[in-house]
């Protein structure tokens, strides 16, 4: 054993905490090493000095002060507990405050989540309504009268025509403002408490036939303040005669004005939406489209991209080869400027 190894062992040796085997080896080394013997003696003396240190007495006030604080806290805790739970006149305001806080929190969540809700609105609604996008308002009103009873029932959930007309008049207002107006509009109160309305609507929809239910569910479902805007669009049957005459003229225009939507919105009914979308994506990349984005939702494939106008025909041909195409022009394309195209692939 070397002197270096001895250093820590000596410190262990003085209180007997060195294991027996090591102790023998350490003692053997000590017999032959003077400096280690000296170090051990110093360690023992040092230990004796440390152990011989006197003790200090606690001051009398120490316990008094500690106990004064402890008693204070013991009582304080009790009274806080009592104040919170026992006297009713304090409890009630707490409940009222809690209710208000919850309401404010819910409203905040509702407002901050609004953009998400907007995205959740099924885009095909606008696509389907494409032909009606240009239907003038009076025609739409006339069509409303011709609607089937079922559709009218659904429309009860939608804004009254008066409000619709009013809204058409200020289609380009910012969404927020319109949301506020809706909340204030008579007969639209349920749109404020959107999530609850959702449930009610879907309950009511159970009685309807399936496609109707789908549409009806979509009416209040997105739960956003703009529900009323999408409503006429979503509520219209797919491809029916009603649809063509439906009073939905304003809706696509509105949605185009609301969000920086695509210039072209195209729905493609393909047998295999996923691979169709993949093919289209490949083509888009081949023709050098910009900001190609693909998203899948509920078995639908949405593809957005910016293309040069001269590529539009190529794109259209490809779409036709992939499935049945429904096209909506959302905004007048500026000549020569890149076009934003949105394609949605779904099964027929």
């Amino acid at each position: 054993m070397t002197c270096n190894e001895m250093e820590s062992r000596l410190a262990a040796l003085i209180d007997g905490s060195l294991p027996d085997g090591e102790k023998d080896r350490a003692e053997a080394h000590l017999r032959s090493c003077e400096s280690c013997r000296k170090a051990l003696a110093e360690l023992r003396a040092s230990d004796a000095l440390v152990k011989g240190l006197g003790e200090v007495e606690p001051p009398p006030w120490l316990k008094t002060r500690v106990m004064a604080r402890v008693r204070e806290e013991a009582q304080g805790k009790e009274s806080v507990f009592r104040r919170l739970f026992y006297p009713l006149h304090v409890k009630l305001p707490i409940q009222a405050l809690a209710t208000v806080l919850i309401a404010v929190a819910a409203w905040n969540v509702y407002r901050t989540a609004e953009p998400d809700f907007r995205q959740a609105v099924p885009p095909p609604a606008a696509v389907q309504e494409s032909p009606e996008a240009r239907v003038p308002a009076p025609a739409a009103d006339a069509a409303m009268k011709a609607e089937s009873p079922a559709t009218r029932e659904k429309r009860a959930l939608a804004p009254p025509p008066a409000i619709l007309g009013d809204r058409r008049g200020r289609a380009v207002e910012p969404a927020r403002e319109r949301a506020g107006a809706d909340a204030a509009a008579p007969g639209r109160a349920e749109s404020v408490s959107a999530p609850a309305t959702d449930e009610e609507a879907s309950k009511g929809a159970d009685a309807m036939s399936r496609p109707e239910r789908d549409r009806a569910a979509r009416v209040p479902a997105p739960a956003q303040t703009r529900k009323d805007l999408k409503t006429p669009a979503g509520a219209v049957p797919k491809g029916g005669a009603n649809r063509d005459a439906a009073p939905t003229g304003a809706a696509p225009m509105l949605s185009a004005a609301l969000s920086p939507g695509p210039d072209l919105d195209i729905a493609i009914l393909a047998r295999d939406p996923v691979s169709a979308a993949a093919e289209m994506e490949a083509l888009l990349r081949k023709i050098g489209a910009e900001s190609v984005e693909r998203k899948a939702r509920d078995g639908r494939e949405a593809l957005t991209a910016r293309i040069r106008p001269e590529h539009l025909e190529t794109l259209r041909e490809k779409m036709k080869s992939l499935g049945q195409v429904r096209e909506t022009v959302q905004a007048a394309p500026r000549p020569g400027a890149p076009l934003t195209v949105r394609m949605e692939f779904r099964s027929p």
Binding site: I14, E42, R44, V66, E73
Partner: protein, 208 residues
């Protein structure tokens, strides 16, 4: 019943504080007085040897008792109450040391310490040959130098040395207080003893 449960029960029944602790957990402040009475002196001495300052040690003990009272409901009897309590005190004392070290480091950053960082202001005495340390210095002066050497140890060395060599706690108890394995406690202690011895040799001159 499993061995750990039995061990915990034994500890609880061995623990002279168990009854008072139970009453404290029910909110009985008077029961806490008995605990303060029983432990204040030893706690104060631990803190005093760690900090080297009587007033600061009193502060630390007060803080530790208050913290123990606030947290007494969370004491589950996994260790002896005293182990838990001294653990709180040591922790507080260690934090004080760190704070004052940080302060003094900022204040004396530009002053060179010829004895190096470990010496902590302890000055070497020129030994007067022929006289023993005890003859040259009064007992009080020797104690003061020993205390300065303890104060020059790193906090983690200081606490194990104080707990073991001055207060005589078992390795198991110290491991419980510091929440360390026993092996770590031992290796820190042996290192602390060696460093302290070197310091004492320096400050006491021809010694022993």
């Amino acid at each position: 019943m499993t061995a750990p449960v039995i061990a915990a029960l034994n500890r609880m029944t061995d623990d002279e504080d168990a009854d008072a602790v139970l009453r404290c957990q029910r909110g009985d402040a008077d029961a806490f007085e008995a605990l303060v009475e029983r432990h204040q002196k030893r706690m104060l001495n631990v803190a005093y040897r760690m900090l080297g300052d009587y007033d600061e040690a009193c502060d630390v003990v007060q803080e530790a008792f208050l913290a123990a009272w606030r947290a007494i409901r969370s004491f589950r009897g996994e260790a002896k109450f005293s182990t838990w309590l001294y653990g709180i005190a040591v922790n507080r004392a260690r934090n004080r040391i760190r704070q004052s070290q940080g302060r003094s480091r900022r204040e004396t950053a530009s002053i060179d310490d010829p004895d190096g960082p470990g010496a902590g202001g302890v000055r070497r005495e020129v030994p007067d040959c022929g006289e023993s340390a005890e003859e040259r210095l009064e007992k009080k002066e020797i104690e003061a130098r020993v205390q300065r050497c303890i104060g020059a140890l790193e906090p983690e060395h200081r606490e194990v040395l104080v707990l073991r060599d001055i207060q005589g706690f078992s390795y198991e108890e110290i491991a419980g207080m510091l929440n360390l394995p026993e092996g770590t406690v031992k290796s820190r202690l042996f290192r602390a003893r060696a460093v302290l011895k070197d310091c004492l040799v320096r400050v006491l001159g021809e010694w022993p």
